[in-house]
Amino acid sequence: MIKRGDKRGMGLLLSTIIFIVLNLVFFASLFLFIGVKSTGVSLHEQVYAKQIALLIDGAKPGTSIEVDIYKLYEIAKKNEYQPAKSLVEINSQEKEVKVKLTERGKGYSFKHFNDALVVWGENSDKKKLHIEIKEAKA
């Protein structure tokens, strides 16, 4: 049989446990949020997408561009992200440059206004992005 004093003790123990669990959840989510934000993933996605789009915008047909994306691979590795195809994607139809560095995130996209045909390929061994600007098909 549980005595009255024991009931009070149980209540106190339960609320203390709830309090500690809530504290743990609170601080864990806070540190997770700080951790995610401080990796600079979104800033790097943004900077590289914009830089590549500007390079394409300024290029004339016949231009070959090689971009060092070593830093992107470093960040992706840190985030344990193994891309199926590539970290950078250039959609010539949509005129869009997309950079994605995490499994959970969807990446960052930026449009370029150059109407030329953009042929590209990513070398994951050399960690380079190769872009060729060709005359658009009529």
Partner: protein
Amino acid sequence: MIRLYNKKAGERYLSPWMFLIWGMVVVAIVAGILIFYSAKADVRQQEAQLLVARVVDCLVEQGHINENFLALKENFDVFKQCSLSGEIIDKSGKFYLYINVSDELENSIFEKPIEKGDKSFKVWCGVKEEAEAEFFAECYKKKIYALDKDNKKIILDIIASSNQFGKKL
């Protein structure tokens, strides 16, 4: 002094005040972190400059204006001839391009200037010259002097404007 047995344990820890304080702490920390890490790479000015450079490169060659451009006037397809995307510049609502052609006395040669994209950006450009407006489109203006086939001076006024911030997917 509060005696332990006079207070319910849950009341001590799980009061609404405690949640309110936690909420305030969360809001303050999240806001601080977001402000600290929300650095943006704003390239709208560079985009506007690139657009002007592309147009100048296409309309002027070794100091002489493209004769095809002068002949076709407003009907000159600036997108096709300069390899620019009409879908992005004209229809996305994030760009503006203005080209005016005049003679040396600054009398307009074309009936009306060539204007593509969001025309309201031209007003924004004027506002930005007078005041700071972070979210107004960034503009770049350039006046170019070129020669026609008779070596007469032609003035090209070009304004390009971009308001493309990019998109987090």
